[in-house]
Symmetry: C2
Amino acid sequence: EGWELAEQANRIRRKFTFPDFRTALTFVNHVGELAEEMGHHPEISFGWGHASVEIWTHKIGGLHENDFVLAARIDTLPET
Amino acid sequence: EGWELAEQANRIRRKFTFPDFRTALTFVNHVGELAEEMGHHPEISFGWGHASVEIWTHKIGGLHENDFVLAARIDTLPET
């Protein structure tokens, strides 16, 4: 649970589970709106009952403070 | 371009490009609505300016006619 370092520690990733596809899609939309609001966009993968969010700063190919701000804000989103 | 076989030929995948994050998110929502309508759900990955859709039938761990129907319907979605 929570955020883990991924890909040689230059990005963070968190996996989420959901009861069905619809709630995963809704969560993905919340993450998408947050990303647009912040002007900082993660990679999002999802399917039936699950989603994964990866965050890093493309310009530096690694992690920057903004990445952790986005992660913390994603943590506040409803998962159902 | 178009659908390619992936993962030992037991799934198909197509990559899409977009001018920004918002249009990728909109496309993902169209795919999601189509998936809910068909009761057949792909794996979707996306980020700023791109999306990837993978389709297979979980029950058989491979490809079934429904997978190609979903792929063909995704091909009719607007990409902008």
